[in-house]
């Protein structure tokens, strides 16, 4: 069993209880325009270029056997030509070029996560994220099974757009589900994210019916999800499914803008994080809708 991952974050403090290690799996069925990890969207690996590390020396252009690279203000990658041979990465003195995505076995995945087991203590553990953690669900379930076997607490961060069999496989090995509900309106969901939310909501209800430990989260994205109507709707809905549901609002974090620059793409979300006052307003809405457990970082 193998899977494609693009990062491991150690000392993850926002991905569940205690201190955790988080494995980022590639591939996602949604296309959220504000995605914080655009490098995780596609399943296939790609060459990643960090302009900040680039010395402009041109070594990569000279060594590329496929002539896939050109140097102007920055290095441009002709993605159709790049065969991911890794030569430029090996030779780049600044460390500006690297593979995003590598294939590893489930056992290797578990080892990467368990490397910091000494930090997990009573509360911490491992988390799968992405991309979408369940996009490669067989791999994901096997990694978590191995982690559980080693005694670690397990969690996934997921948008829940996954087939029923994936849900069942994950339910068997996952202690905590940190799930995203971004829009309640199926039309908005389809329009902005490329798929409607019917399966997502079904899966959420499945988790609740199975008494899984669930935390619902909504990223507050200006111009998208951060409207009173949307948040009120989500709150009302999840409260109707589970009156004890835990709900967390994630303030917009514009730091990922530099990632889009590295991909030579525009980032569609303007502005910065929401103000304290705006956040308070949303929290008030949650209270009005009877959310008992509002989680704040």
């Amino acid at each position: 069993m193998t899977g494609i991952i693009f990062d491991v974050k150690r000392f993850a403090v926002h991905d569940g209880g205690g201190l955790r290690s988080t494995l980022f799996l590639k591939g996602c069925p949604l296309r959220c325009p504000w995605c914080q990890n655009p490098e995780g969207m596609e399943l296939r690996p790609s060459l990643w270029y960090s302009p900040g590390e680039c010395l402009g020396c041109g070594t990569c252009v000279a060594v590329c056997p496929e002539n896939a690279l050109t140097l102007g203000e920055r290095v441009h990658v002709e993605r159709t030509k790049c065969v991911l041979c890794g030569i430029c990465e090996d030779r780049c003195p600044g460390g500006a070029l690297q593979h995003m995505g590598r294939e590893i076995s489930a056992r290797e995945g578990a080892e990467l996560l368990l490397r910091d087991k000494v930090f997990f203590g009573e509360r911490g553990g491992v988390t799968l994220s992405g991309g979408e953690a369940m996009f490669q669900w067989e791999f994901a379930a096997e990694v978590l099974r191995l982690c559980k076997e080693a005694g670690a607490d397990t969690a996934i961060e997921s948008c829940l757009l996954a087939p029923r069999e994936a849900m069942e496989a994950m339910l068997a090995v996952t202690d905590h589900f940190l799930i995203d509900i971004k829009f309640l309106d199926p039309e908005l969901h389809r329009k902005h994210l490329g798929a409607d939310n019917r399966i997502i909501l079904q899966n959420f209800e499945l988790l609740v019916s199975q008494k899984a430990d669930v935390l619902v989260r909504t990223p507050l994205i200006p111009g998208y999800t951060a409207t009173e109507e949307n948040i009120r709707g989500i709150a009302r809905y999840i409260r109707s499914v589970d009156e004890d549901i835990r709900y967390e609002l994630l303030n917009f974090n514009p730091l990922c803008r530099s990632k889009y620059a590295a991909l030579e793409e525009d980032y569609p979300v303007g502005g910065g994080a929401l103000s304290q006052k705006e956040m308070e307003n949303f929290y008030r809405i949650l209270q009005e809708e009877g959310i008992k457990h509002i989680i704040k970082e």
């Binding site: 403090v13 201190l19 203590g121």
Partner: protein, 784 residues
Amino acid sequence: MRIEEISKLPCSQRIVQLKEEMLEEPRFASIEQACIVTKSYKETEGEPRCIQRAKALKAALLEIAIRIEPEERIVGNRTSGVRGGVVFPETGASWVDREFDTLPTRPQDKFQVHQEDIDTFRREIMPYWKGRSLEDQVREAVGPQVDAIAKVVKINQKDHSQGHICPNTKKWLRLGPAGIKSEAESHLAQADKKQHDFYNSVIISMEGASAFMERYATLAEKLYEETKKENLKEAARVCRKLSHSPAETYQEAVQAVWFLYVILQMEGNASSFSPGRMDQYLYPYYERSVKEGMTLDDALELTECLWLKFNQLVYLRNSNSARYFAGFPIGFNVAIGGQKQDGSDASNELSYLFLQAQSHLLLPQPNLSLRMYKDSPRELLEAASRVIGQGSGMPQVFNDEAVVPALETHGVSHEDAMNYAIVGCVELTTHGNALAWSDAAMFNLLKALELTLNHGVDLLTGEKTGLDLGDLTTYASFEELESAYAKQIDYFSDRMVECVSKVEKMHEQLLPTPFLSAVIDDCLAKGQDVTQGGAHYNFAGVQAIQVANLADSLAAIKSLVYEEKKISQEELLHALQTNYEDAPLLRATLLNKAPKYGNDVDWVDQLGVKWVNYFADGLKKYRNGRGGIYQMGLYTVSAHVPMGQNVGASADGRFAKDPLADGGVSAMYGRDTKGPTALLQSVAKLPFAKASNGTLLNMKFLPQFFKTETGIEKFTDLLRAVCRLGISHIQFNVLNEKDLRAAQKTPEKYRSLTVRVAGYTAYFTELAPDLQEEIIARTTYESA
């Protein structure tokens, strides 16, 4: 335990006022004691040295100007001003002569001066001590040997007396000066001539101590008559009682502790006499006073009075030494928590009161240290985490699981190891029975590598100072380079030990310390001064510096030059010799293409481990001047900046003269890119059992981490992991860059901003600009 109640105690108006007054008062260099002592020495010419020393101390105790603030409850100082820089000619007069005029303008640790003091010093003090002070005598005895190795090994204790000592405060509290005097008198009957002098010197010192307390009692009575302030009446009663009887109440015990440390500093003027486990030995006094009706507010205020006092003594160093130990650290190190000798939990209400005092005052002293072990109570770790989150860098955290075995490995009994304390910044000691000479020398392993790569020739000066074993181009393999490096280390270790022993001998001849010896076991029993080896434990400590740069440099050479051959031996040697002037890409390759210490990359970390082991094992064959063994430490304090200035370009991509990694076992700043857990995993591979002199790990966190209960929980999880990993010490700077930039721009607004420099905390605005920049540059762990 009333933990919750303690955490809500407010800071009293008295304390707020005393703190403000203290911080407002300017610092002056003081020659008052120098004048008294010099006069005394002239009168006692020809008497045994220990008697001369005791009489000089007694004269100072009788004559030095004393002062009490109207609001004070705990009294005493060694100068009439606060934070005075005491000129101490017995140990160093020549440097004072050279630097007196520049004290107000030097980059680090400035003091104001009175012109008439400079004139008096040059007219009356300097001429007597020229050629007689420790500094001059050391220079005459070993000056050339010390200079010959100076770039690799910095020999310390050449111009001040040895500190880093944790006296037996418990005994002082039990007996007081009068009781100790009687003890010395009882030994006199069976004493030989040399012991006779020693016991007499103790008796004279204790008479001085009693008289000093009486002077304070009299002054407090006089001030009470004028002001009718009850605190002064009580202070007078306490001082009067302590001059002839032991302490019984909490206030008496706190006052007695403070007198002990003032007098130790008047005798020794040394860097660090540490109170050690104050929550343990003060507890019986606290308990008694609580039974008699002392409130928590009252206990806290008394504690905070002492905390302020700890900040009123600073240490005047020469300008070079001030760069190595910047920010006047004087090292009143107080340890809380940990285990009792039987392994049970030692924390008590005083542990929490001390944390609360720290949380209120956020001052550099005391250097508050938390002892942690595998079963430390959650409440204690959480309370400590909250105080750490306030950003004063304290408490720093020590790990019994690592420290106790390290001490036992070096011959310390289990009971003494379980009762360890911390002295100075991060140095480990037993309680009340050791002269550990913790800061004998600092050994720059990176400089030794530089010499090995370049025919023993210094890259910065072109002088040949080391063994010529070849250069990088002549070593056919990495193993050949390593075996040459081993020889280079041996060469400098031999020379270092010779110098240290000679310096120790000079201390024995010139600086016996009878008052101190009376509170270090077994000096009175043996009839021997500490400088003669009277203590039960006699160590000497050498710091190995700096594991991160060494591991990174060796890893780059091993992988990029010898294995992958991405860089040729000639290219790299040339680049080092020319400080990467025309080789930016080669430097980038070194920085980016070889993994670095601090990222949990095993083979790199193991290179650091290997050479730390080699160095520590090499020390085993030596004995120090008092017959004890050498111990290795892994810390630099702020010395990574000046020590870096001594080192040319290194193969880790560091430019010539740039600072080394900070702290001791930290990664090179900015190069631990895998986060704190990876850093800690790397650090945990080091042989802490061999680093019984102390280690230092700095980590920097942003304040957001501590803002929520979840954050506090996660932070204590991190502390628990540090404990399980067996890392001996860790400390945290909690601040953000914006704060520090603002403090640089408007220092006056940030006068009380303290930062962790290394094993101690200093006022940020009082640090030199390059050290400020360096602190800002250290890796920051944002809330990931």
